[in-house]
Symmetry: C2
């Protein structure tokens, strides 16, 4: 996933005025709902249990992510590799028996990585493991030399003055730790997404940050940055504080290297770096979403939506971000297809260009804003088991959800709350009040691998994928066969 909270909230900000109207609609929906009629039929519960148990035994999800990571590998948004991944997804969807398989193309601002090296040149020579952040600017080909000005937190950097920073390399460190719900990423990600533009506006020569990572390997974590509305950010991005910033060289350093830099700074002498970063913007390039369906037998216009994002960062194989999400959603839909269609349409989406700024999610939302999305879920949080089911549905639908969720108890998934966020690519549909399921996965290990070269197939837990696919298949089957409408969902308040 990208810096989801940040980007989604950014996208939704202009639409906040709709909140009050949706709250009224939700109340009306509650008053009109008839929970008894909408509960899943006993026969559909039994089918859901069968799908669940088949998935748990062997969902086929691991084979899908194995195929994607082996036959395609990394698939940077807008790259030829992402185009190969679309071909792969079309072929795989057809092979799995999905219908209406097609690509919905869109264009994005292209960007590609170049050379990237960093060395401490004073007080003692040391090499540092770094990687360019997405949409980073470039140094001259021969690199640049500058002194470090260090900040121990985003809060400290917010106090920085142009006088302190001008002509220097800003270094921001932090103490992000692993959490089960991944919330530490949200707490620290302004260091990556926002600080580069702030450093640019203060006249910094470059910025290097301690990776937003919880591991201790020499593998830095890339990720996207927000520079401005009028510059290289794609449509759907937003201005940062309404002010443009020229991209400067912006890199993440591995955690061990950041700790070394902290020790060198503690020696009390000026620390100078030689930095080479030569990524480049490549103009507008092609991306796209891949869509396939299991058409509904009675209400084909009503859509039960599931998916993951097809693009990945370029450093690894895109296994856990988000090959697993593609695999789980494809496998869950395939289990349903094998059983036979539901009353409503099951739609599977492999979104493109999530990492660079949710461009795939934005494009889907524009193209499908008037579709009847009955219930949606995206899998974009790695390879951990699901440990609870959150939702964001109309209050009147909660009895139906609670009845459906009982099928998940043998998977070790209890019912959570009705305050689920929107997973990455679903965010742009939040203003429509689209109801969502939030399958909360254990993210304790996620940010050790996220956006690094270490995002490879060997990290995938095949049994956890089976459990997740079981949950998706069972819930989506029931959702596609009840009369429940689930929405409109109440809007999220700021997280």
């Amino acid at each position: 996933m990208a810096s989801t909270g940040d980007l989604i909230l950014a996208w939704r900000a202009p639409r906040w005025h709709a909140t009050r109207m949706r709250n009224i609609l939700a109340l009306v929906a509650l008053l009109l709902s008839n929970a008894a009629n909408a509960a899943p039929a006993p026969a559909d519960v039994r089918i859901a249990e069968t799908l669940r148990d088949r998935a748990l035994a062997e969902s086929g999800a691991f084979q899908i992510v194995e195929s994607l990571t082996t036959e395609v590998g990394q698939r940077l948004a807008g790259s030829p590799a992402e185009a190969r991944a679309r071909d792969w997804a079309v072929a795989k969807m057809k092979a799995l028996g999905f219908r209406n398989v097609h690509v919905e193309p869109f264009t994005i601002q292209g960007w590609e990585r170049g050379a990237e090296t960093a060395e401490v040149v004073a007080p003692v020579p040391q090499r540092l493991a770094i990687t360019a952040l997405g949409h980073s600017g470039a140094t001259p080909a021969a690199g640049l030399d500058a002194e470090i000005v260090a900040f121990t937190s985003m809060a400290a950097f917010r106090e920085a003055t142009a006088e302190q920073v001008r002509g220097k390399i800003v270094f921001i460190t932090h103490r992000m730790a692993a959490t089960q719900d991944g919330s530490s990423y949200g707490a620290f990600n302004a260091i990556r997404s926002r600080a580069p533009a702030m450093a640019s506006r203060l006249g910094a020569a470059a910025i290097v940050i301690r990776s937003l990572g919880t591991d201790s390997h020499r593998l830095p974590h890339t990720g996207t940055t927000i520079w401005n509305a009028g510059g290289p950010r794609p449509p759907g991005g937003r201005a940062q504080d309404g002010v443009s910033a020229t991209p400067i060289p912006a890199a993440a350093m591995s955690v061990p290297d950041s700790e070394l830099l902290e020790r060198l700074l503690a020696m009390g002498k000026p620390v100078r770096l030689h930095l080479v970063l030569t990524p480049r913007f490549t103009g507008m390039v092609q991306s796209g979403n891949v869509i396939g369906e299991i058409p509904g037998t009675q209400r084909p216009d009503e859509i039960v939506l599931l998916g993951g994002h097809l693009d990945s960062w370029d450093l690894g194989q895109g296994a856990i971000d988000d090959g697993t999400g593609i695999a789980v959603s494809f496998a869950a839909a395939k289990l349903i297809a094998d059983h036979g269609p539901a009353r409503r349409t099951i739609r599977v989406v492999a979104w493109g260009s999530e990492e660079t700024g949710l461009e795939g999610g934005v494009a889907y939302a524009k193209a499908h804003a008037t579709d009847k999305h009955i219930l949606a879920a995206e899998d974009d949080f790695g390879t951990g088991r699901v440990w609870k089911l959150d939702t964001r549905v109309a209050p009147g639908a909660l009895p139906t959800i609670d009845a459906m969720a009982r099928v998940l108890l043998p998977l070790g998934i209890p019912r959570g709350d009705n305050n689920s966020g929107y997973e990455s690519d679903l965010g742009p549909l939040a203003p429509t009040g689209m109801p969502v399921l939030g399958f909360a996965q254990d993210g304790t290990g996620y940010f050790a691998l996220h956006h690094t070269a270490d995002d490879t197939l060997d990290k995938v837990d095949a049994k956890a994928l089976d459990q997740t696919a079981a949950a998706f298949a069972a819930m989506m089957w029931m959702a596609a066969n009840t009369d429940e409408r689930f929405g409109p969902a109440a809007p999220e308040t700021a997280r």
Copy 2:
């Protein structure tokens, strides 16, 4: 440590004929020994216990490895960085109160890393994380393209014919797993040390091996290779099967990349790589051993020897290989120095150029072959706690050793056997019958980090260093104050 077993056995092979004579000497020593007189005096046992407990509370070892990794970092044999490390070691030894501090220089065949990239170009494009093995040959600057010929084990590769291999890139994979005693490294290291020369003689264009590593990170494990006696191997190296081989490009690939390559090969189509490796030999360059002493008060010519190796591979910071060995031996000797000198001399050696072929150990053995080495120990197995004390001493000295070893029981270190090997740099002194202590460290995690970019300070377990320093300080104090001679040790049989 380097591929110790391999290199040590190589060094000692011509001296095997001395075995019988030493067995006779050992028997004579047993008959003449007087265990009661040689046992450590109660006062010295009490001092040893005090040193042990001080070390356990805070040995200072972590601060030493922190200083070395921060102020010097990597220190490739023969490089300017290794020269800086010698300066660091001289200054540190003097600061710790050691006497007779000096460098004993020697020269080695220099070698340095260049560019290193690898890509699968067919059947699908994928980047691979590789690194040149020590003394690897080079590809053209633009790289080379060739098809892979794969072998699943060293045994399978031994059956390879020139017809199979000529003009191709040999790929050898394996299934090395972690073991507490590190013995799996010995079982697999011919794939790194010997297969490159074999591939060269069969006409291969290059060789890539699955890293000798037990981790799953995109960080390949470098290490030395044995090409021939007359070529770039330094004095002390040996001919491989008496046949010379021209260095060809030889690289290790990370474990996840090797697994990817295995999956691509399993698709059944030819797999081609584009390989760029541009290391170079730099001629004869300077290296050296750094030596310091705590001179004995009564028998200054009798040496109790401890140390580690100062050089490291160039990818990491040389923290666990072998900054920790430097740190533990320096800290243990400092504890003794702070107490006051022993009857015999305590000598601390920071060996140079261990990784590239034990050149430092060979130089030390040549210069000090006639020194009276009473008992010796080297720490070169990472950051794990010591879990038993093995020895290789004259049988007659065992009662003394057993009495001394009781001081280690509160450290959780029981007595092991009398079949200890010689740790890396001590190997070249094995033919003299030098007795050794083998502090067996838990090596379960060692080969996840060994010879990779991940060998950084954050991996060091400060409390385990304290425990190891406690064991070294206590044992070396007692050894330097008894009348026991400990030797001559019986020779090792082939492992």
